[in-house]
């Protein structure tokens, strides 16, 4: 049976479709992102070669994952980075809190990190009396309104500048109303620079972790990541365990395809390589760097040879920008940390395919996501696999919540269907009834209404094909 807590994507998506402002905001942004990405890959062969290389690097890294994680950890420790492991988000949150408390830290300034969103870290820290402030401009904007990111790269993409202008004038002290983007940016700069200066600690995510050197790589344009990791005396980094690659050389093509796929930039403003806390004689940089390596279901995904491809993801967001569903309903409709196509396969695997059964079906399987994915994750194939997992308990499967998406009604419907198809006599009777009385079936009938809710009611032909073949004698003219 469906779990009680199920969030229905079809309902929130339908609601989002009714919001013309939201749709306009996404349409404009996604069209821009698609065009910019395309302009970055003028040669189809170069793009394909770079995708093949990136896919191979990510696959190799995953094949050697336990060894690479151990090598990475050993090198981090050698460099003076303190490494922690967390099986769950709860553990990771407790680790962050423990590190902050040990230093008496009360304010935390954050660079953009989707893993920290996964952990719901801000809410957790606030409960414990610690201020966690987002410093990425987009994250800052949504935090002011208590919202979650609607896109993994551009978290505030659902808002337009008029909405942000109103918000800033109401929520930032002494701010005047302006719709000028430069002035709005300057306002945020002023507030946040003071926060960087005062913060007891900084937190960041990790884009790539390099095993051979024990290095954390951060990709960004704003400089808030550098501020968060270099200004406060304490830096805490959080990463999913799949982020590690063997060599720094491996990072070069991944970085090249990440920025081009994400925002259509050949390069980001900053590519920051953090290998150690403040060294002997250094005059700045954090005195302590802690790294938390989070599992949260990843090791379970890893165990399945097909689903493991999910972990190749480098979080560029191109699948969202190109998804006909995402671009129309936006990120919030998914009610998940990771929206869009990658979220549709990641969220059910983390939270359970039964709980997020609806999400797996919110796709036309058009394949646009797989076509643009820089690491060639077969998202539609995985969606189909998860649809089966949601209603079956196959031997050898370890998918979270497998089989729990099964409903009695659906079960009986399929049994009936199979029973009829297996018996030619019964099939003939059933199709006779369907062709004669099918159009009399009310659109609101159980099961049928699942189809007719968003589609026109199918009208059966007046005679079935086999009837016509018999009547017309199978002519071949």
């Amino acid at each position: 049976m469906h779990a009680e807590t199920e969030v229905l994507f079809r309902d929130s998506a339908a609601q989002a479709l009714l919001d013309p402002q939201l749709r306009a905001n996404f349409r404009r942004a996604m069209d821009g992102l698609m065009a910019k990405r395309k302009a970055q890959f003028p040669e189809p062969q170069d793009l394909q070669d770079l995708r093949d290389l990136s896919t191979a690097i990510r696959s190799r890294s995953l094949l050697a994952l336990p060894e690479l994680l151990e090598q990475f950890e050993a090198n981090c420790i050698k460099n003076g980075i303190k490494v922690h492991w967390a099986e769950t988000c709860e553990q990771a949150n407790e680790l962050v809190l423990g590190i902050l408390n040990a230093k008496g830290a009360k304010t935390l300034v954050k660079g953009k990190s989707m893993v920290s969103e996964e952990m719901h870290l801000n809410a957790f820290l606030e409960k414990h009396g610690i201020e966690a402030l987002e410093s990425d401009l987009g994250e800052y904007i949504i935090q002011l309104d208590g919202e979650t990111p609607s896109h993994i790269i551009m978290p505030a993409i659902h808002k337009n500048k008029d909405q942000i202008a109103r918000q800033f004038s109401q929520k930032i002290k002494d701010a005047k109303y302006t719709e000028d983007v430069d002035e709005l940016t300057a306002m945020a700069r002023k507030v946040l620079r003071q926060k960087f200066l005062d913060a007891d600690a900084g937190l960041s995510g990790v884009n790539f972790a390099v095993a051979e050197t024990g290095t954390l790589c951060l990709v960004e344009n704003e400089g808030n990541g550098r501020m968060s990791t270099h200004v406060p005396p304490l830096h805490i980094a959080v990463m999913g365990l799949e982020k590690v690659v063997a060599r720094l050389e491996d990072v070069a093509p991944l970085y090249a395809i990440l920025t081009r796929s994400a925002t259509g930039q050949a390069v980001s403003t900053y590519f920051n390589l953090i290998t150690a806390p403040r060294g002997a004689g250094e005059k700045d940089g954090p005195q302590e760097v802690h790294l938390i390596i989070l599992d949260n279901g990843r090791s379970r995904i890893y165990a399945d040879p097909q689903l493991r491809a999910t972990l190749r993801c480098i979080r560029c967001g191109a699948c969202m920008n190109h998804c006909p569903v995402y671009t129309r309903v936006g990120g919030h409709a998914y009610e998940a940390v990771y929206p869009g196509p990658i979220g549709k396969i990641l969220t059910p695997q983390m939270e359970g395919v039964g709980v997020r059964h609806d999400l797996i079906h919110g796709s036309s399987l058009c394949g646009a996501c797989a076509e643009v994915c820089p690491v060639e994750i077969p998202i539609p194939e995985i969606l189909v696999r998860l649809r089966r997992e949601a209603t079956h308990e196959d031997a050898g499967s370890n998918v979270e919540g497998r089989g729990t998406g099964r409903t009695t009604t659906e079960d009986w419907a399929w049994r009936l269907w199979a029973g009829v198809l297996k018996r030619p006599g019964l099939y003939r009777v059933a199709s006779w009834f369907a062709t004669r009385f099918g159009k009399a079936l009310p659109a609101g009938a159980p099961l049928i209404k699942n189809w007719t809710r968003t589609r026109t009611t199918p009208v059966p032909a007046r005679r079935s094909l086999s009837e016509r073949m018999r009547a017309e004698g199978g002519r071949h003219d």
């Binding site: 290389l53 401009l137 050197t213 390069v267």
Partner: protein
């Protein structure tokens, strides 16, 4: 916080990953697409400049003999109150040796940041650093901040002036990583910078100078001949 749960988590996680087994053949890596980036020294310089100018980086050209004067002229022209520099670096020492009194004041970064954090954030007009190379393919500067040229010099002041010698420009980030030996050992912090700080988080509209420097000035020293 105790170490026990964390250690247990480590064992459990690595155990699960190991149990997943499956160490199939590693897919081979064909890096031909990266090797296609290959240019002569003069073209590398042009490409770097074009790439960085496209994201609002400003360039000043100089010769190996007059670059300190070029920096000085820029500072005076812009009316900068002061310029933060690293007295312990080679470029910093050269700059200080040639700096005439009056006008823009040279400000040495010669103590831990804690001693002047407020001043660094509010009282410094510009920071000057050297670079260890550049990247032609996309445009970008490679920096290795250290004790002589600390990390925040290229981040906190609103203007960052960076010295780049044309002969140190590499084809791509990939070739730079190899040429600089970064894969073997990395300093506590290394970075690539392609322009002034920017954001497009408000309606996809580009705005410069969001958190880091509002302007990036590259003093490009032509030392190719």
């Amino acid at each position: 916080m105790t170490n026990r749960p964390a250690t247990d988590a480590r064992t459990a996680i690595l155990g699960r990953l190991r149990a997943a087994g499956e160490t199939g053949p590693l897919p081979s890596l064909d890096t031909a697409v990266l090797e296609r980036c290959h240019w002569g020294a003069a073209e590398r310089m042009d490409r770097l400049r074009k790439g960085m100018e496209a994201v609002h980086t400003e360039f000043l050209t100089a010769s190996p003999d007059d670059w300190t004067q070029v920096v000085r002229d820029f500072c005076d022209r812009e009316g900068l109150k002061n310029l933060l520099y690293g007295p312990g670096s080679e470029a910093g020492a050269d700059l200080a040796a040639s700096w005439a009194p009056g006008g823009t004041q040279l400000m040495p970064y010669d103590r831990p940041v804690e001693a002047f954090k407020d001043e660094l954030f509010t009282g410094v007009d510009a920071g000057f650093t050297s670079t260890v190379g550049g990247v032609a393919e996309t445009g970008g500067l490679l920096l290795m901040p250290d004790a002589a040229e600390p990390r925040l010099m290229s981040l906190v002041p609103p203007v960052h002036i960076a010295l780049l010698r044309a002969s140190t420009i590499q084809d791509s980030f990939w070739s730079a990583v190899k040429a600089l030996g970064w894969g073997r050992s990395l300093p506590p912090n290394a970075l690539m910078i392609s322009g002034p700080s920017k954001t497009a988080d408000i309606e996809q509209t580009l705005a410069y100078g969001v958190h880091g420097p509002k302007r990036l000035i590259v003093v490009l020293v032509d030392d190719l001949n």
